[in-house]
């Protein structure tokens, strides 16, 4: 006596339509591997290269409330824009973001990060200068490392001052692949 996929799908759709979900999530396929994507009614809240939801649900519940539910419909908008991005048909994302629970410094760094154009790179130091904290390159690096919404907030476009790639929470391979997709000169 298991719950049929159809019944399961109908419940998840109804829950989302009725606005009873604090945070909906689903796994989205991409050329850099399956992505865990989560969105609330406020906007896109998380993208993770670790597609296994279990590790993430508690964290999302702390941000948005305990009603965290797999809900393909909740991430439809993000899925569409990500597909367009990966197929080269989109250079800028028009998604609203849910940046709840992030400290003000992090938010201001991420807002500056969002302005780094497609296909270009900047440095941790330059980003620090743009938020008015020129000596905070290391702190900016930490914000990049913990970026809750990689790809859409393009921390892959941030490199070291000597031009080396430095690091990427999703692995350097992915950083290279994203920059190549955008046609950046490495």
């Amino acid at each position: 006596m298991t719950v049929s996929p159809d019944l399961d799908r109908r419940f998840r759709e109804a829950a989302t339509t009725m606005g009873l979900v604090d945070m909906g999530f689903d796994v989205v396929d991409s050329p850099v591997g399956p992505l865990f994507v989560a969105a609330s009614e406020r906007g896109l809240a998380a993208i993770s290269f670790d597609p296994e939801p279990d590790a993430q649900l508690e964290r999302l519940a702390r941000i948005a409330g305990p009603r965290v539910l797999r809900s393909p419909r909740s991430v439809d908008g993000a899925r569409r824009e990500l597909d367009q991005y990966f197929s080269g048909r989109r250079q800028a994302f028009d998604l609203t973001l849910d940046l709840r629970a992030l400290p003000p410094f992090t938010v201001s760094v991420l807002q500056e990060l969002a302005r780094v154009p497609y296909g270009e790179t900047t440095t941790y130091g330059a980003l620090a200068a743009r938020v008015g904290r020129p000596r905070a390159a290391r702190a900016v690096g930490t914000v990049m490392n913990r970026n809750r919404i990689p790809i859409v907030l393009p921390c892959h476009r941030v490199v070291g001052s000597s031009g080396d790639l430095v690091g990427y929470a999703g692995g350097l391979d992915r950083k290279v692949k994203l920059l190549q997709l955008e046609g950046a000169t490495l």
């Binding site: 006596m1 298991t2 719950v3 019944l7 399961d8 109908r10 419940f11 109804a14 829950a15 009725m18 009873l20 979900v21 604090d22 939801p53 279990d54 649900l57 508690e58 999302l60 519940a61 409330g65 305990p66 009603r67 965290v68 539910l69 797999r70």
Partner: protein, 153 residues
Amino acid sequence: MMQSVAIPPFEHFYEQHRTDVLRLLRRRVGSERAEDAFQETFLRALQAYRRLEHGDHLRAWVLTIAGNVAIDTLRRTRPQSELLETGADDDRPAFEELAPMTDGLPPKERAAVVLRYGYDLPYDQIAAALGSSEEAARQAASTGVRRLRRRSQ
């Protein structure tokens, strides 16, 4: 005092209890109407989930909701003759009536009383719902009832 269990993300709660909820509903309202009742049960649970104060006895909690939905489903369709065979079940007191009465009982006793006398569940199922032994479930229900009697005297 034991520490309360944290409220799990709804996804985990749903995955853990959906099979039992469907099983209970099929038994109570038949497989034809069980799917709508299933959806209704978890939508009601979602509506109430934000107001939960702890994650204790969630299984008993969701089975109680499912029991309520089953009663509502049977009430809505009672005039149909196909239901006569389950008609005897329909007169049991609804949780709405039992709820204010049992208000203030310790959670486990309250759940045991409601499942036993509100929904007429056998003790082995109550034990499963509470995650305890059958003997403990029986004990919880009888302690709860004694407590209620003392209170009404």
